[in-house]
Symmetry: C2
Subunit: 385 residues, 2 copies
Amino acid sequence: MFLSFTMQQTAGAARRATMQLPHGAVETPIFMPVGTAATVKAVPQHLLEELQTQILLGNTYHLYLRPGHESIRRLGGLHRFMSWPHPILTDSGGFQVFSLNKLRKVSEEGVRFRSHLDGSSHFFSPEHSIDVQIALGADIVMAFDECTEYPATRERARQSLELTQRWAARSRDHFLAHQQEVPWYAEFGGQTQSLFGIVQGGMYADLRRESAERLVELDLPGYAIGGLSVGEPRERTREIIATTLPLLPADKPRYVMGVGYPDEIVEYAAMGVDMMDCVLPTRAARHGLIFTSEGRLNIKNQRYAEDQQPLDSTCGCRVCQRYTRAYLRHLFAAQEPLAAVLQTVHNLAFYLDTMQSVRDSILLGTLSELLGRVRQRASATDTTR
Amino acid sequence: MFLSFTMQQTAGAARRATMQLPHGAVETPIFMPVGTAATVKAVPQHLLEELQTQILLGNTYHLYLRPGHESIRRLGGLHRFMSWPHPILTDSGGFQVFSLNKLRKVSEEGVRFRSHLDGSSHFFSPEHSIDVQIALGADIVMAFDECTEYPATRERARQSLELTQRWAARSRDHFLAHQQEVPWYAEFGGQTQSLFGIVQGGMYADLRRESAERLVELDLPGYAIGGLSVGEPRERTREIIATTLPLLPADKPRYVMGVGYPDEIVEYAAMGVDMMDCVLPTRAARHGLIFTSEGRLNIKNQRYAEDQQPLDSTCGCRVCQRYTRAYLRHLFAAQEPLAAVLQTVHNLAFYLDTMQSVRDSILLGTLSELLGRVRQRASATDTTR
């Protein structure tokens, strides 16, 4: 596997590190924008580069269904397909199989599900998920897991974590046997992808501990905490992260999947999380919910109809440098496609700048002050969550 | 009025000139992308600048309905509202009133119509159209006309052109009385907008001639030929343009509204047209119809699913420099908003580059060779018109 994780500085539990991957370096703690279908919705790749996006997340489930992983393999892999020569991480498809499919059927072997596109029947096993992810060729791939639903009984959570544990071992074995099949193997001098495992265990701290301890025995280059942001209160999310993180190796990247609001990502980074991803900044942007240094604003609001200020007067992004709230509100009200482009660029700028501040604060020893400011502004908003 | 039109070179009937407007210079012959609702659909303004877009067209009807001309006036006019500090032309609203409203009622005074957005009742007279256009503050505004439908009897076309002629005089009178109310009047040292008249007359050459001769008596700074591309065969369009152009003053800009395909805009420029606009490159892009140096291609086509070529291998645009047909087809098939962004950028690049070639060819004396090449490729396509 080809991942190095070099610690630059710690500040309490927080870590400032550099993760070197085949397609480039990633400065952590990092927030990864979601590019579900080989695109961060509405944003051209050069604008993602301008925002200094270091790593994108692609969704294996969506890419498997369309355009198909074999097609992407023939086209040289996901990096080349979408013209993103920088790091990429793919999820295992597990989360989408569970969240987008009401008729799924889980067995020891894997999951049978129906495509949300055309209802056709498909089957994902750990081996198949890894095959698909090798064809896509992201720098980091994820073990196939069962995302435990919320709420779940203790018995159900235990059964689910046991299955996830067996699937993780199968994912690893299959990955090790096939890792040389990644499309860029020769081009990158024999480098391969890196496989991360995923901790499950529902909302039960002892099950989370057990899941983490057993997963670490697989000796993977990185570990994720999955099954969060599935509807539980935020205090519970924080509690599970706090319980689990210390059990994951300190010298390897630790990734919390599917979080979160701006104040959450700062808080989790302060707790020692290195990587996070979430559709929130991009999806919210398309629905008119804007994140700013003074809190959230809903661009739909009539109060912005003649507001000549930028979305965020402290933001240096291209959108805030050029356009007014009045114009963006008009674009949104008129359902103009440019609204999604510009609002997504701003929200991503806000998230990525926030994480840059986190990284700077770790080096400067000012992380707790940053966390205080971020929490304060999170409560100031023109709309309810 | 503040428009200068300086001839650089002629080549047969074709003219290479510079049109100086309050917000900048426009090199003619020029194609004007359509930015209906204060946005060229899906394209950020900085990418329009990168494409060297010199002048945009805004639709008065749409902007009047949403966000409203008074709102745009209070925000400093359309240039400031949409952050486009370069030249803009607005149409009179007449074409949209006629094309988007089945229940319109035309009287000598003006047109009563219903909003296509909410069914509310509105009235446009020549005076009101000019008031709205002054509030928007484009560099060039258009007289309020009745766009004669196709087909129309000779009697109907005559009646319509008489009405358009009376409305043109009223438009001019009202403009002259109110031109100092443009939002940027003081900021631009007392400069004002320029009002163009519109020739009508249906498909009757003698009526077109009469319309042109009577319109020219109003002594406006530029003239347009309207009522074309309304369903008539292309030979008829060409014939009407050929009949009308010689009757319009040679020392003023001549604008054909609502055209056309790439070979059409080259042909009309060769005939002596200075300005054109059309939704075709932008609308077609959103529907997957791509214009290239080798003809048209429909990106939906399965044959492009694994095609690693750019849309147009001779095109220098940002899209052709970075993305493959396979990727763009995927984005289009997945209904990803990025498809519209990238395909519109390419189609506009193709149109604007085509017009740059026209301007270069006039200077170099190679316009007829260019026209031959453009006609040849227009017949090469993977789809029917």
